[in-house]
Point group: C2
Chain length 196, copies 2
Amino acid sequence: MHREALIEPRQEILRTAARLFQQQGYDATSMNDVAAALKLSKGGLYHHFQSKDEILLHIMSHALDITEQRVINVVRRVEGGPEERLRTLIRLHIEVVLSEEDREITVMLHENHPLPPVSRRKINGRKKDYVHFVENLIADVQRQRGSPSTVSPRAAAFALVGMINWIYQWYKPDGELTGDAIARQFTEIFFRGAIG
Amino acid sequence: MHREALIEPRQEILRTAARLFQQQGYDATSMNDVAAALKLSKGGLYHHFQSKDEILLHIMSHALDITEQRVINVVRRVEGGPEERLRTLIRLHIEVVLSEEDREITVMLHENHPLPPVSRRKINGRKKDYVHFVENLIADVQRQRGSPSTVSPRAAAFALVGMINWIYQWYKPDGELTGDAIARQFTEIFFRGAIG
């Protein structure tokens, strides 16, 4: 039985494809597998995406959209100065990494899948934009606080993004470390360590 | 023309296979591709490894052996107390991540490749052992220094391992941040941030 009407068809396709790519590998997953998992006909799937490469690119773009909407755009609107914005960024970025709904999408950003060169450059450019945003915010906080730190905003940004993006490698929803505990302790490590 | 005598055959096979897996994807790489890249006959390759799964498992084990030999075993022999051991661990772990010779092998540890359950448990167990080693060392340093930090050794260990293992995602050998600069700044962030 085929079902041709998904509620948010493109997002559902991306989420299901991301799950299959992780469970059975990107190459081992066919467009047929994706269609079958969604109870779509192959035509129904091709109506939205022409190829697996296109799905992969859209998964990665969608992961970056999520970061933009739920982290950057919110942080920009925070009133109260750079320190408050940086604390908010750490908390929201951790929330995105831990989001059960989006984890399968966002994890794909970090895996090394062979994208065509043009797409790869586009995705890598957006990843770099995020690091620059974090770097500039750290520089603002250091300046405002008259920080004595000899850590450069750039090295600090890579350390912060690394410790947060790495969480998906070890986090267990039923483990000892809750999302709140991680956010509190990572914020403390980072503020004491890189701002001082 | 086939060449049946590699100098360190198993290590050369693992390194070449790891490179191919990253360039063209694990599933898209066949045993034939691995043999061809090494100028080995298929029989020559099968003499060492029976399957691609076996190669993948050995790549991961080898990456963990490298960490054990070049980080843990050296750190255990450092004289001068836990603080000196922790500083050494940070420096050596960064060196392993940056090692040009081993990068293709060690990166495989972090990618999500479908291993058979028994192998996966074995690899995950050894990864956890490493985090525990780091965690215990951090606890020793906090105790010895009478650290006022409210960061738990466990959260601190995940933060440290995350920021170091993430380096492969952004590091450029010809970039501004050299290995030494990374080691100095990450050590400062971590010691000020998690020990205090």
